[in-house]
Symmetry: C2
Subunit: 203 residues, 2 copies
């Protein structure tokens, strides 16, 4: 079994949350964010509007949920990497685990979803709300580098920079004229970060 000890109840909760976030994303991609009512999302997932608000406190939150979950999983993956691995290699592999799989080659659904996230300011904003996932990532970095996630600048900066790489790579993924796969863009971004972002004009 892959499940730890879920408890039948928590399973249903997770399933409902998944259904809601999928429904929200699908509807928003299809008809645009403004033309989706909370009512519609709830109906799509077979729950009442009120229940919807028990899971997500805003429309945007539901849509963005899957993306934020990726960051969360990446933080977990980073904790699982062998301690002997160099930081940036571990970081790259940990981030590729949730981000790389769906994006080996440009998939229409994925592309549409990313385009939605980047085009709607409200979603862009919601992506970083609170920054809980980023904090988890920072904590994992801290554990690996022997720094303090609260008192030291380093882990926070690394986590924020990693998120910057995700953002920039996604951005590039859309505007690339000959449609390029996501993964190389992302690894390139991380590589550039680890190399100190050298000025290409003086290279």
């Amino acid at each position: 079994m892959t499940t730890d000890q879920p408890g039948l109840r928590e399973r249903k909760k997770a399933a409902t949350r998944e259904a809601l976030s999928w429904a929200a994303l699908r509807l928003a991609v299809e008809r645009g964010l403004e033309n989706v009512r909370v009512e519609d999302i709830a109906a799509e997932a077979g729950v009442s509007p009120r229940t919807y608000n028990n899971y997500f406190s805003s429309k945007a939150e539901a849509i963005v949920f899957r993306h934020r979950d990726r960051v969360r999983r990446a933080a977990g993956a980073l904790r699982g990497r062998p301690a002997t691995e160099p930081l940036w290699e571990a970081l790259t592999r940990a981030l590729l685990e949730p981000f790389g799989d769906t994006a080996e080659q440009p998939h229409p659904r994925w592309t549409a979803a990313v385009r939605l996230l980047l085009s709607e300011p409200a979603l862009q904003a919601e992506l970083w709300r609170g920054g809980a996932e980023e904090a988890q990532l920072a904590a994992a970095v801290a554990a690996r580098t022997g720094t303090d996630p609260d008192r030291d600048l380093y882990p926070k900066l690394v986590a924020a920079a990693a998120m910057a790489a995700v953002k920039a790579a996604n951005d590039q993924y859309l505007t690339a004229d000959p449609p390029a796969p996501f993964q190389p863009l992302f690894t390139e971004a991380l590589r550039l970060l680890a190399a100190g972002l050298p000025d290409p004009s003086t290279r």
Copy 2:
């Protein structure tokens, strides 16, 4: 005169916008974001609630306006730096221009404002909404490095990384136990970025 050719009318608009953003920030710091109505902000600035919404489309937007304006000014400052200056030196100086002045030593007002921004998820989210300022910064970086702001990954990544430095430095600025001035933290963050964020445990 420092003004280009403002036109008396646009001056009043700018003044009103300033008044509104100041009022919003002040009230939010004093009584917390949730206890501030749009009505209050409008009253504080001497305009009708409806007019408020002609300037800012949300409560958070008004509060965050000053901060985003700093990034905008930094982008302009970067364009004004001499072309011979190395990228990261120019970037550091450009960013310090709007960010460094008020923060040479921990000022109670400034501290309270930063704390508000970091503690309220809604404001945190609003800070990066749309990312127009970040795009301006990327454009300035592109102009300086001979890259294309649309087609190349590099300028977007540098801009996003710079914003990450702002975020991390602000974060650190608050949690530093012996209250530390902002400027050194910020320059240190940029220095680390330019150095490729080396793992401190293997140094």
